[in-house]
Amino acid sequence: MSQQKIAAPKAASETQLIARAQSGDEEAFAALFEMHKRRVYSLCLRMTGNTAEAEDLTQEAFLQLFRKISTFRGESAFSTWLHRLAVNVVLMHLRKKVPQQISLDETDSSQDEPVKRDYGDNDRRLLGSIDRISLSRAIDELPPGYRAVFVLHDIEGYEHNEIAEIMKCSVGNSKSQLHKARLKLRDRLRQNEGLMAPPEPVVSDQPATER
């Protein structure tokens, strides 16, 4: 499909495109794909951390969209509906792939350690040094469960109650996993930038005197 063919129906409203796509109009479906492909693909990419998997899942999401578009009644925004469909496609894939890794109810003891203390002066912070590539790489390195909650909340803007419903966990669990994911990301970014000099955190058994 050439870009020209896809661009032509862009002017039409999304509602019209949806109606045409529901009746099997290829150009309308192509236009809907053009409108939403980046968001769906980005979601798939962030959730999997793998371009090939993300492309396969984007493909699967749009094939499912075509199969289900006749059931869309406009009760929610089309983008919300499609996005939710894509999230479900990705989660199904992740559950099949590594079922134990995206269970939010499992305790990851490695994440329960207290907040790490860093050496160095207080100017050595991540602030201003988080570039897109290093952040994307650090997100890719997160365990799938953490990654899913972080992507859904901090990147895609889902609320914890929505994440809890999607991931079939409690709201508290979603919040907890998000916080751990952020801390882990911070650690990764600092390690990547050499900001954390010693590997072990300094935690005194005896509380120090107040600074």
Partner: protein, 230 residues
């Protein structure tokens, strides 16, 4: 660079405990107050806030063109698109060919030749009252193809030859899907040709034959597009 070494205080433990809630927007006045006093906890808080902002600002990524090619190929092979393919749309499918302009020009010349050479009596025979009520282009277009099935057949055969030459690069599943779709269309084409042998003037059979060839061209072109997208 001056290095500051500090140890965890009870206040730092409390900060760590309340940080999650604070980041979720809950009122935890201790967190910012402690961060103001403790350089290390302040860095943690600022880092997490910077992370959150950076995550929100991540740009959307662009999928490769192969994604659409794959989706379209699967939908076409499954016969998902209900709209009938028009004449010029069919020509649009030729744009993947190495020399689309000469091919399209050649096809146009052949069609023009056929229009000129279709016997006048044949045109008059087709001009039934029902057809004359339709826009002028409709019967003419149908009859052009009625007199030119050989041209269309040759064009599709050329597509099929290209497809056969490249089909080895398709995955077995996809290849099987295309084969199934092509076999079904070939069966339709055979049926139409059988009908036309019995009734050469059957306009409906001509229409169906054109539709079957058009669909076959579309399936083949989508397969070739897919192959090129790899």
């Amino acid at each position: 660079m001056k290095e500051i070494r500090q140890e965890r205080t009870p206040a730092c433990y409390q900060f760590a405990l309340e940080l999650e809630a604070y980041m979720e927007g809950e009122k935890e006045p201790f967190v910012p107050a402690h961060a103001h006093e403790c350089a290390f906890c302040r860095v943690i808080l600022e880092d997490l806030e910077a992370l959150r902002s950076a995550a929100r600002a991540l740009p959307l990524e662009e999928p490769s063109p192969a994604v659409w090619s794959n989706i379209r190929a699967q939908l076409v092979a499954a016969g998902a698109f209900g709209e009938r393919v028009g004449f010029w749309n069919w020509f649009g499918q030729l744009d993947f060919l190495p020399r689309p302009v000469p091919v399209a020009a050649f096809a146009c010349l052949l069609l023009l030749g056929c229009l000129v050479t279709v016997p006048r009596t044949y045109l008059e025979h087709q001009a039934t009252p029902e057809l004359s009520a339709l826009p002028a282009s409709t019967p003419t277009r149908s009859m052009a193809f009625a007199g030119d099935s050989g041209t269309l057949e040759r064009a599709v055969r050329e597509l099929e030859e290209t497809f056969r030459a490249r089909e080895g690069s398709l995955s077995p599943d996809l290849k099987a899907t295309y084969e199934k779709s092509l076999n079904s269309l070939d069966a339709s084409i055979r049926e139409c040709n059988d009908s036309l042998e019995r009734e050469p003037d059957n306009s409906l059979a001509h229409e169906y034959l054109f539709a079957a060839y058009s669909q076959k061209a579309q399936v083949l072109s989508s397969a070739l597009e897919l192959d090129e997208g790899r």
